[in-house]
């Protein structure tokens, strides 16, 4: 693994060491099941199938949005990809290297290139450390810089995220939620990563601050060629920052397409339900939501057989409860001959005509 090039104090687009062509990150059939233990001997009674066979690729300087509601597994995907949580099975290939089979010293090196920004700007910063210590900690741990050079780098990072360098001596509680999120971003940038998992980075922020953070993330991507996995339930934010979007439901990807295609012509009934449920800020466009049949999402412990969405699926109902949906799990395959647009639904080709009312134009 080549050493990082020497850093200057001026922000430059630093050439990343790379093994050549191909996607930066490749996730193959990732599975994460959590055991549920019970009984006197803590025997495993059931499994939470949090992530149940997820595959995708991510290129350099691109953003993949990963959306879905609670329990879909999107946060777990992010954690497992960074080896923060051990996987059950599957592979993650980062720049040609299989991260789950790397010896520890190599994995540690690789970790510098893969970072994470958390949802909770209050919980993810150690309240007993100064901002300078928080942002500088990665540089310290990886022995990248010390002393005066460390301080210079931290100041530069803070400036880059729109904070004043004098924030270094202050503590997280002195800052607002949006500012704390910027501190988290500065920390994630410290080691000049190629790839950042953004786990709901704007959900805890006020509406007007979200725009600031989204703009910042986009700017940083353009400046540094960063790749993002944008995990969010906020479909508005996702639309603005993602090149491609994958929709998850109960541990699986049910639809994946370039952003505009997904929003303009969603094919999976769940995607349609999701998009139509979002209230649009325009009173002239009040329209009835295309509703899922049951109110509550089944738990990932008890995933329905066949297609996991069938008990709530409006298309299943419209088609008279076909057995296929109850018995066979639909594969994620291209629809309408479009290899960029993949859907996991037995009736994907017909869904558009049958559910036409709900598309967001």
């Amino acid at each position: 693994m080549p050493a990082s090039p020497p850093v200057t104090t001026q922000p430059t687009t630093i050439a990343k060491p790379s093994s050549g062509q191909g996607p930066l990150v490749e996730v193959r059939d990732l599975v994460k099941h959590f055991p549920v233990r019970g009984g006197v001997f803590s025997r495993v009674r059931e499994w939470v199938k949090a992530v149940d066979g997820v595959s995708f690729t991510l290129d350099r300087a691109r953003t993949l949005g990963l959306v879905g509601e609670s329990g879909c597994g999107k946060t777990t995907v992010g954690r497992v990809m960074l080896a923060l949580v051990p996987r059950t099975s599957g592979e993650v290939i980062f720049d040609g290297q299989d991260i789950f089979h790397l010896p520890r010293p190599e994995l540690r090196e690789l970790r510098r290139r893969m970072q994470i920004i958390f949802q909770d700007p209050y919980g993810s910063l150690n309240p007993r450390m100064t901002v300078g210590a928080i942002v500088g900690e990665p540089l310290w741990i990886h022995r990248v810089a010390r002393g005066q050079e460390l301080e210079t780098r931290v100041a530069e990072l803070l400036r880059r995220v729109g904070l004043r360098p004098d924030a270094m001596g202050r503590y997280p509680h002195e800052f607002s939620g949006g500012q704390r999120q910027r501190i988290g971003i500065a920390r994630a940038l410290a080691l000049e990563p190629d790839f950042i998992v953004c786990d709901e980075p704007t959900s805890a922020l006020d509406v007007s601050i979200r725009a600031q953070v989204v703009n910042l993330l986009r700017r940083l991507q353009a400046e540094f060629g960063l790749s993002y996995l944008m995990i969010s339930h906020d479909l508005g934010v996702v639309r603005h920052i993602s090149h491609e979007v994958a929709v998850m439901y109960l541990g699986k990807i049910v639809e994946q397409a370039p952003t505009e295609k997904l929003y303009r012509a969603p094919r999976h009934p769940y995607t349609r339900v999701l998009l139509s449920a979002i209230p649009i800020p325009d009173p002239k466009r009040r329209r009835p939501a295309l509703v899922a049949r049951d109110d509550d999402v089944p738990s990932p412990i008890n995933v329905p057989r066949g297609c996991s969405f069938h008990p709530r699926c409006p298309l299943y109902e419209l088609k008279g409860n076909p057995a296929q949906c109850r018995e066979q799990t639909p594969p994620l395959i291209p629809v309408g001959g479009d290899t960029e647009h993949r859907v996991a639904c037995h009736f994907a080709e017909e869904s558009e005509a049958m559910l036409a009312k709900s598309a967001i134009q």
Partner: protein
């Protein structure tokens, strides 16, 4: 008096004594809600909307809070001087409230049935034997799945959407004239949110109930509101009927909110953010409280503008509001 508003908050001031000084959380707020109508109060953290809602039912702990001024008139009667005991007959009975986190407002050690029954016993004169039937009726009305089973379940056994339905059931069972809903769907998944909002609308029309809806989500406002009140830094800075507010926002803050929204029905290149941060309630700037962040601020803004009528039924607190009425916001221009 059919035309008098059901609820009239007049120049309300609710302050808190804190270590950092006096926090003027609600600093001269006036809001009216008519029978059967929905008024949405929208604003971001620290604007005072939640404290305003809590003040109506005097749920603000005093100390450290204090009602420093103004009146809260419900059917013409000022609630502020009432004792807690007198408020108890109003809470739940005439004015009900539902909160953002159903997990924290449902008592974890009592079953759902016990909690709904408690509400009925406090506010309605139903014979004991009819209570169970009434509970099932209201749970069915809120479309709770398996209502009989829920009566004997504890809150932790219910999902977020179900807990919210239970809370709405508790609120509706006493046929209140006014329901105050503080961010009722913020903690819920979006598909569940759509159904809860639908439920609120339906209940409203069925019961002729007024709704005071506190939210930060402009999409929810567009779906639900008849009238919108925009708050910033403890004050009302704009007020208008919903169609008017969305098509002709007049205050720079409201306009900034619209322009910074990432919309799912459109793609924009860069989001227009409102720079800076909300001021702290212990330290509001002098003059117009938005001027530090306002792209249109000029010398006159050191004088605080009052809430003036800029169009019929449309009020805004800004010196240039009238001219902004006819200027389309950036997101409109793109369309």
């Amino acid at each position: 008096m059919p035309d008098a508003p059901l609820l009239e908050i007049r120049d309300l001031k609710t302050y808190f004594r804190t270590e950092q000084g006096l926090a003027r959380a609600v600093d001269g707020v006036s809001i009216s809600v008519s029978r059967g109508k929905t008024v949405a109060v929208v604003g971001e953290s620290g604007c005072g909307k939640t404290v305003t809602a809590l003040s109506v039912l005097k749920l603000v702990p005093t100390p450290p809070g204090e009602f420093a001024g103004g009146q809260i008139l419900f059917e013409g009667r000022n609630l502020l001087p009432l004792s807690q005991r007198e408020m108890q007959s109003i809470r739940g009975g005439e004015i009900a409230m539902i909160f953002q986190e159903p997990a924290t407002s449902l008592n974890p050690v009592f079953t759902i049935g016990a909690q709904i029954a408690e509400a009925i016993r406090l506010h309605r004169k139903l014979p004991e034997r009819e209570i169970r039937g009434e509970m099932l009726r209201v749970l069915t009305e809120v479309r709770m799945s398996e209502p009989e089973r829920r009566l004997d379940q504890y809150p932790h056994e219910l999902s977020g959407g179900m807990k919210q339905r239970a809370m709405i059931a508790m609120a509706l069972v006493c046929e209140p004239k006014l329901l105050i809903a503080d961010e009722p769907t913020t903690a819920l998944d979006v598909t569940i949110q759509a159904r809860i909002l639908e439920l609120l609308r339906k209940s409203q029309s069925q019961h002729g109930m007024a709704l005071l809806l506190i939210t930060h989500d402009l999409g929810v406002v567009a779906e639900m509101a008849d009238e919108v009140v925009v708050m910033y830094a403890g004050r009302v800075i704009e007020r208008a009927p919903v169609d008017e507010l969305f098509s002709r926002p007049a205050h720079p803050y409201t306009r900034g909110l619209f322009e910074s929204l990432p919309r799912i029905d459109r793609h924009d290149d860069e989001l227009r953010a409102i720079e800076g941060n909300v001021p702290s309630p212990t330290n509001f700037p002098s003059g117009c409280r938005f001027r530090d962040r306002c792209p249109l601020a000029f010398e006159k803004c050191t004088d605080e503008p009052s809430l003036n009528e800029v169009a019929p039924g449309h009020h805004a607190a800004c010196w240039v509001a009238e001219s902004l009425l006819t200027t389309p916001t950036r997101d409109r221009v793109q369309q």
